[in-house]
């Protein structure tokens, strides 16, 4: 069982630079065809400062910290038992390539179902550029415990 005392646990704060090449790679990987996400000239022509960060990429930038699975290890969760349950984003501003974004995360809820064979952990993340709020993310993961591994 995951110790419910971890509710309130704060993850290490980290800051990431949004890189143009990485945004292009991401956009190609998700099949994006809108040139605003692929070509900086098109982005600027559309009024952006540089390539905009697509709606779900903030989740990815948060995984750029030294060990994106750090809190799983802290809470004693095995990565292979984890499923993503829910994900939400509240947006205040669309960041662009070249921005430096700071991520502050904490564990906000832990509960169990089905006699403890399924556990749920909620993590909230606030994203800032300097002092400017950019977005809030909420991630719920499901941990499915199995008794034994089959080969």
């Amino acid at each position: 069982m995951i110790d419910p005392q971890f509710v309130g646990f704060e993850l290490p704060v980290h800051t990431q630079e949004v890189e143009k090449g990485r945004l292009r790679f991401f956009s190609r990987a998700i099949g994006e065809t809108d040139p605003v996400y692929l070509d900086e000239d098109d982005a600027k022509a559309a009024g952006w400062r540089s390539l905009p960060v697509p709606p779900t990429f903030l989740f990815c930038l948060d995984m750029e910290r030294c060990n994106p699975y750090d809190y799983l290890e802290t809470l004693g969760i095995e990565l292979g038992e984890v499923l993503h349950g829910e994900q939400s984003f509240q947006y205040h501003e669309v960041p662009c390539a070249g921005d430096r974004l700071t991520f502050r995360s904490r564990i906000t809820d832990i509960w169990a179902r089905k006699a403890g064979t399924m556990e749920f952990v909620v993590r909230d993340t606030d994203v800032f550029r300097g002092e400017t709020p950019i977005a809030e993310l909420r991630s719920t993961i499901i941990i499915r415990h199995r008794d034994n591994h089959e080969s």
Binding site: R28, A29, E32, P54, L79, L83, Q87, Q90
Partner: protein
């Protein structure tokens, strides 16, 4: 910010997005591009060890498809919130169709928000990811 070409009404569908079938290459590229290197999505040995019959897609890949549908439809800065629930594992070879329908109009402060119901389903019509988004009309 104006929606093109007509102001949507409750019950209207937004333009759909269909994607190519998800291949193992899709998953490898998404793992690298997203930074989510969880081996359950790309390493068959790891997936089998953890009781899966095969690797499966990142839920956030399918969520990114829903995000593409939204940003194809409105300028991205109009998207105020975006929330999804992963209702079923998305399998290799799934071909995802994204759909959205206007659920309600909400007037808050000086802007009108529309709530859009989102569904990403595979080629058999089985929902993989569902959710909603709030989009500013103004």
């Amino acid at each position: 910010m104006n929606l093109d070409p007509h102001s949507p009404e409750v019950g209207d569908d937004i333009p759909e997005l269909s994607t190519a079938p998800i291949s193992r290459l899709t998953l490898a590229l998404y793992a690298g591009a997203s930074g989510d290197h969880n081996p359950i999505h790309v390493d068959l040995d790891f997936a089998r060890y953890h009781g899966m019959t095969d690797v499966f897609a990142h839920g956030m890949l399918v969520t990114a498809y829903l995000g593409r549908m939204l940003s194809n439809w409105v300028p991205q800065q109009a998207i105020r919130s975006f929330a999804v629930r992963f209702v079923a594992i998305c399998e290799v070879h799934d071909q995802i169709s994204c759909k959205g329908r206007i659920l309600e109009k909400i007037t808050a402060n000086d802007e009108t928000l529309i709530k859009v119901e989102l569904t990403a389903s595979n080629q058999h019509g089985v929902a993989r990811v569902v959710g909603d988004a709030l989009v500013a009309l103004r």
